[in-house]
């Protein structure tokens, strides 16, 4: 079982699940009648207690996000009324306009998008190239280099913030995009995942490439990359999520509002508007969370495979 395959088994595959549920063994149902029979069988076997528990868990876990979305569309009067108003009377974007009044929201959004795209892209590139060199370019000591890369997984970034901060300051990089971006670029986890995947690639294809006289760059681009789709997606998506949500480092490096990322802007907003205007704060949290939520919903399988890869690459 190769890394991506086993990762895929953790990923939700509801389609497969449904087809397995309630279908009598040996009698594959065809057409609407078969499906109806299968649904009936599923209904008969329905574990009611388990189903209720599952619904309860889903409601409890999902309510906060739904509540955030609803509250961001309410007027202050609706937010501060008892008993609670469940739905906004006249859903409006006033709170979002309020965010834009306090902080340069559009600019922050573009900063976040730009830094996430560039950061994640470079991270994937660095990891891909590094792993390729570690697996396919034969030089002595490359095991040592791999150990060096791997060991950094055990060094939490928080330990390095004070020296990195003074270093970045000495470069004159405080309040710059490169100051936010560069120190976090190095890829250890990505390199690790790519390497694990490369070790499973069929040798014959690569030997054929070598016999054809393909150089390393061509082998990488024409043969290895096309065979690494799932791993590329997993590493890329995980990088997108971590870059977008990254908080402590950009918070330390930037205090110019025009250079902030969205999560840092959220702290600024919290300081400016305080706890007095929940509507505005919640509108801002929607702006921070919704893009990643959408990425998650659309590319769920790949993203979950990447995020849980640590557990299945044993």
């Amino acid at each position: 079982m190769s890394a991506p395959t086993s990762a895929r088994t953790t990923a939700p595959t509801s389609a497969r699940t449904t087809s397995r549920t309630g279908v009598p063994a040996g009698a594959a149902p065809t057409g609407a009648a078969g499906r109806a029979r299968a649904a009936l069988a599923a209904l008969r076997d329905l574990p009611v207690g388990g189903w209720l528990a599952l619904v309860a868990a889903t409601v409890v876990l999902g309510a906060p996000l739904l509540w955030m979305l609803l509250a961001s569309l309410k007027t202050p009067a609706e937010l501060y009324s008892l008993p609670l108003r469940w739905l906004p009377g006249a859903p409006g974007l006033t709170n979002y306009a309020g965010v834009a009044d306090s902080i340069p929201l559009g600019r922050l959004f573009l900063n976040s998008v730009g830094l996430t795209v560039v950061g994640a892209g470079l991270k994937v590139l660095l990891g891909l190239c590094c792993a390729y060199a570690l697996v396919f370019v034969e030089v002595p000591f490359r095991r040592v280099v791999f150990g060096l890369v791997l060991a950094t997984l055990m060094i939490p970034p928080q330990i390095t913030i004070i020296p990195n901060y003074t270093f970045v300051a000495s470069l004159g990089w405080l309040n710059t995009y490169q100051g936010i971006l560069v120190p976090g670029l190095a890829s250890a986890f990505g390199t690790f995942l790519f390497r694990q995947h490369f070790l499973t690639l069929p040798r014959s294809v690569l030997e054929a490439a070598a016999l054809d006289g393909a150089g390393h760059l061509r082998t990488l681009l024409r043969f290895v990359v096309p065979m690494s789709g799932p791993t590329l997606a997993a590493v890329g998506l995980v990088s997108v999520v971590t870059e977008w949500n990254d908080y402590l480092w950009p918070f330390l490096v930037v205090d110019d509002a025009r250079l902030m990322t969205l999560p840092v802007g959220l702290t600024l907003l919290q300081n400016v508007d305080g706890m007095s205007s929940w509507g505005v704060l919640l509108a801002a949290t929607v702006v921070v969370t919704l893009p990643i939520l959408l990425v998650f919903l659309v590319l769920q399988r790949r993203l979950v495979a990447g995020l849980t890869a640590g557990a299945v690459t044993g």
């Binding site: 079982m1 190769s2 086993s6 088994t9 953790t10 509801s14 449904t18 549920t21 329905l46 388990g50 189903w51 528990a53 599952l54 889903t58 876990l61 955030m68 501060y80 008993p83 660095l126 590094c130 396919f136 370019v137 034969e138 030089v139 490359r142 280099v145 791997l150 055990m154 939490p156 928080q158 913030i161 004070i162 901060y165 560069v182 190095a186 250890a188 070790l199 499973t200 690569l206 490439a209 070598a210 390393h216 949500n245 908080y247 969205l262 702290t267 929940w278 704060l281 801002a284 949290t285 990643i292 939520l293 998650f296 769920q300 979950v304 849980t308 640590g310 299945v312 690459t313 044993g314």
Partner: protein, 349 residues
């Protein structure tokens, strides 16, 4: 059961599912898929290659080095510059009495450590860290396993439940903290109303100990529960059905099967999660920053948050670096235990 073996991100065992294949096999030229495979064909079979060929070999070696440097160089250089260098520098800084941005620094040897270990604040920080860590890790493991057991049953709608449960894990900790601060609002928060349904009054979540810490723990659990559940689910689905069937044939009920068959087989998963959650819990920052900023009266200041506060709010960078060393040693200890366990597991896997 390769899919559930603890990840040994650190130990880096061979690609799973094929433990018989030596990963180093790729390194030997004969098996290597790289272009060096073509070399034996060109190489003379005689034992002493003449100078021309030796020069050609040297040129090939130089080219391999150049390629390696070009591809791996940037990543390795960044790691050295932004991970290894600051790690060592942090150890050095911890021996200085030095304020962030100050031009003067005084060497104090182990003075910062002595101060940290004898400071009255340390006791509170360590207690808070311990409570936060045990509550978040323990809570996430127990609730995550329960959720995974639910998701493992063939219940319609479990796909939706899985999506909803995992979603918080991908969201910004800061945004999640602010969102929950609103939910916890003792007057207008959703939670106050829900507690009211059960005839309970909302505690003063923001101000009265121990509620701020409880609040932070709850949010951490909400954010990480889905991750734990999904890893456990993968572990559960890797358990062969015939083992469970055999237990049922022996007359074991559901609870008995869980205790005697499922849980023991999940041990590697449990251990992996324990270590991962410990590491991430000890480093958590965003939620505390969004919700309490370590307060009130330091009641939610964990070791990680103290390092930030001493380093960047108070500005005592030397003292904060000493705290960072303590945290690093704690994390290393956790990792070391993991590696020992992984090794043991490998022997009877």
């Amino acid at each position: 059961m390769p899919a559930t073996a603890p990840a040994a991100t650190a130990a880096g065992p061979p690609p799973h599912g094929a433990p018989d294949v030596d990963p180093s096999g790729a390194r030997t030229p004969s098996a290597g898929p790289s272009r060096e495979v073509a070399r034996p064909a060109r190489r003379p079979s005689g034992p002493a290659p003449d100078p021309v060929r030796r020069r050609a070999a040297a040129r090939r070696r130089r080219r391999a080095w150049a390629t390696f440097a070009l591809l791996a160089g940037p990543n390795v250089a960044l790691l050295l510059l932004f991970v290894y260098r600051p790690l060592l520098e942090s150890l050095y800084l911890s021996t200085l009495q030095w304020n962030l941005g100050s031009p003067v620094a005084r060497f104090v040897g182990l003075g910062n450590y002595r101060e940290w270990f004898t400071s009255p604040a340390t006791g509170q920080v360590l207690t808070t860290t311990a409570v936060f860590t045990v509550a978040t890790v323990g809570g996430a493991m127990v609730l995550g396993l329960a959720l995974a057991l639910l998701l493992d049953r063939r219940i319609p709608g479990r796909g939706v439940a899985r999506t909803v449960a995992f979603a918080p894990y991908v969201l910004s900790g800061l945004a999640v903290g602010i969102l929950w601060l609103f939910l916890f609002d003792p007057r207008y928060g959703l939670l106050a109303t829900v507690l009211g349904w059960f005839g309970l009054a909302s505690p003063a979540w923001y101000t009265a100990e121990p509620w701020p810490l409880v609040m932070v723990v709850v949010v951490y659990l909400w954010k990480n529960l889905g991750y734990v559940a999904l890893i456990y689910l993968a572990g559960l689905q890797a358990i062969p059905q015939d083992l469970k069937d055999a237990a049922a044939l022996d007359g074991a009920g559901r609870v008995r099967t869980l205790r005697s068959v499922v849980l023991p087989l999940l041990t590697p998963t449990t251990f992996f999660l324990l270590v991962t959650m410990l590491l991430s819990s000890l480093q958590s920052f965003d939620i505390i920053q969004a919700m309490t900023r370590g307060g009130p009266l330091g009641s939610t200041t964990t070791l990680m948050y103290q390092i930030y506060q001493e380093g960047f709010v108070t500005g005592r960078a030397g003292y904060a670096s000493a705290g960072a060393t303590v945290l690093f040693v704690l994390l290393l200890a956790v990792t070391a235990v993991q590696m020992r366990f992984v090794e043991r597991k490998v022997h009877y896997a």
